[in-house]
Amino acid sequence: MTNNSKCVKYNDYFSDQLYTWCTNCGNYALHSALKRALVAEKIAPKDTLMVFDIGCHGNGADKIDAYTVHGIHGRVIPFAAGAQLANRNMKVFAFGGDGGILSEGINHLVHAIRCDFDLVFVLHNNRNYGLTTGQASATTPKGFEMNSAPNGVTEEPINPTEFVLSLDPTFVARGFSGNIKKLTQIFKQAINHQGFSFVEVLQDCPTYNSATPHNWYLERVIDVDIFDNYDRSDIKQAKKICKDMAEKIATGVLYKNEDSDDYYTRQPSRKDMKSELVEEVQQEQITELLEEFR
């Protein structure tokens, strides 16, 4: 985001580590779209902080060149929020799966939306726990047999986008790993949104999710752009269109509110401050503050 990073190439995001995901994993397409969006927005790896959760996607943390962090399960959102508040010159991303975000750390998702931290959050939704070899997640379809529920999952699944829309967010998108071009467009808009950008990516897990494989999505995914009268600023429309996860699954940027200030901007203590928190670490005089104790 600094001037010297105007010329950013796709290759700049290449790491010398080899990918270790399964053949046909949805993560490949997601990484490809992410890099394309960053290059299109002229953001250099140097100016990007990416925070990865635990899970297969987290094993991608060293497969992309940026300032990256691989933390503990379920906690990417608060880490990324703390980082972003400290230095807004960096573009901050957080990545998590349906396990880490909709089970272990769902509270963080709820409050990050309330706060509207200015970061891009990507939900890798492959509808199961892949890295631990195929247990049910909060998005696994009910009745489906998983190794932790051999007679079929008994819980109702969460529809993540519907859940997020209930929390009065400022940016909600849903993409599909089978459409890199569309996903790139979504990421570009998410990057440019000032506030918490929620991007759910429906993705194939070729090894453990036979309930909703790649072809299943191909037959069902629709793009909201095909509707002439779709109004992205109308949360009611978004709430309505996101419900269907069985026949016509709506993708694209579903909802955007550009009129709300993000968390940092709302802080009275940071009003009129030109510097970033990272630039302010120095000894401070406290003489004036001591008066009330005399």
Binding site: V51, N59, T68, A83, A86, G105, L277, V278, V281
Partner: protein, 579 residues
Amino acid sequence: MKHNRFVIKIGGASGQGINSVGEIMAKGLKRTGFNVFAYREYPSLIQGGFATYQLDFSDRDINASSMNWDLAICLSRDAIHNLITNLNKNGILIHSIETTVLSRKEKELIEEKDLKIIKIEAKEVIKEMGGIKILENIFLLNIAWRLLDLNNKVIKQIIKERFIDKKKVLRMNLKCIEEAQNYNLPQGINKFKINFSQDESNKSNLLITGNYAMALGAIAAGVRAYYAYPMTPSSSILTYLAKVAEKTGMLVKQAEDEITAVQMTLGSMHMGTRALVATSGGGFDLMSESFSMAGMAEIPLVCIVAQRPGPATGLPTWTAGGDLNMAVYAGHGEYPRCVYAASDAGSAYLVVQKALNTAEKFQIPVIVLTEKQIAESFYLLNNLPESLEIERGLVVGKEIENIESKDRYKITDTGISPRWLPGQTPNTFYANADEHFEQGRITEDKDESKKIYKKRMKKLQTLKKELPEPEVFGKEQGDILFVGWGSVKATVLDVMNLQNQKNISYLHYECLYPVKTEKFQNIKDNFNKIVLIENNYSGQLGDLIKLGCGHNFENKLLKYDGRPFFIEEILDYIESIND
């Protein structure tokens, strides 16, 4: 008046303004020119129950409480029965309760110690002047002030400062003070004779709690973001920092839980500002996985843990020093860490600064222990100590140009690798909580895993070399050497300050882990008796010292009832082991 101090105890129900009266009186005593120490006891509820505020004052340095008092101010019936027992000889108890039936035992006590129980018609006076009920406490305060034979100008001034923006409240308060001044005290009541000299310099001194001092220490040390979830007794750090945030520009965030608070702190520290988090034991339990992450990813972290008695919810509003083991052992896996403990307001100010430097220089998680006793008691200080130089251990200046991505976890002699900040150079790095090698990428290779593990642990040895030995108070030989940490320091030092206690010394551990035992080993044979003194059941520092040098503490003075050590308890103990 025993042990060179005069003690006032104010008692009543929560919600009766006990705290306000206590604070006004503490400030009044300070501005009169006395040394004062203020100690609170209160239950975990908003209204009702039984709460007290105790003021010990003297003409010498005092930082702990007596367990007996000379003057009791009672705002509830409970208070009368609770506070009568520990009145010193010739003590006075004033109250405003309509009818009180004293037990036979209480009556005997009054006889035996020649106590005066005085009913003050506060309710009636307040009603007559058209004031609200809560003013009773100000009325009684001023009656007490008259009994102490002190000038009420200071009280008027404090009241004026307190209600500067509330004209009507101020007018009623001042009227109340006048009424108290003109109130007819019963016949035969002698005012107390306070023989302490009044020291002019005390008037401009600070009267401050450990929590406020710690918050100020953080502000002075360049902390720019504070994250916390409320938990007694750490909460006043959050509320104070929030109150002054517009002056300091600090970003202060109440998080949705302790895990969020610690992760946001980690994120901010990782990005390169100074951030801080505080909690109590239960909240820290929730943070321990994140603490372990800081150890592995080598992200600096400072967490203040304000102790109260556990386990579980325990005694939420009382004091303890029982979380040392937790601080030393919390979090899975092995990784270097450092544990400091504050002992009073002055040390609280500095110890948080020490912790920030240690965390950044060594890229490790650091715990700062404090206690309800330190967090919420008011201490008198000439001034806060001078702030420490900020040491960040970052790659600086031209060096950044030579940095390569693979240097982030570079294996070095000290175990400390170069640390730079995201965004500083195109040579990015990968901060990894999975096992990794020098450049941060994941490894599962046995040789690499072992090498990087050793590198991390090496930092503990480097740190131990740099840390100071515990401090000796008093002579390095004598009769008894007390060994302790935390708030016990203040009580032992108060005892040592008494004229007849010349043969006592105290060894104080401010840095508890990695534990240093050289000083202890060098001086322990110069004493007839070594006594471990701690605010917990098992003697946790004693166990650490034993691990460090094999010393087995035979004499232990341990307290685990939610109360701090009072001076009489140490005096009695000294007498008992000298018998």
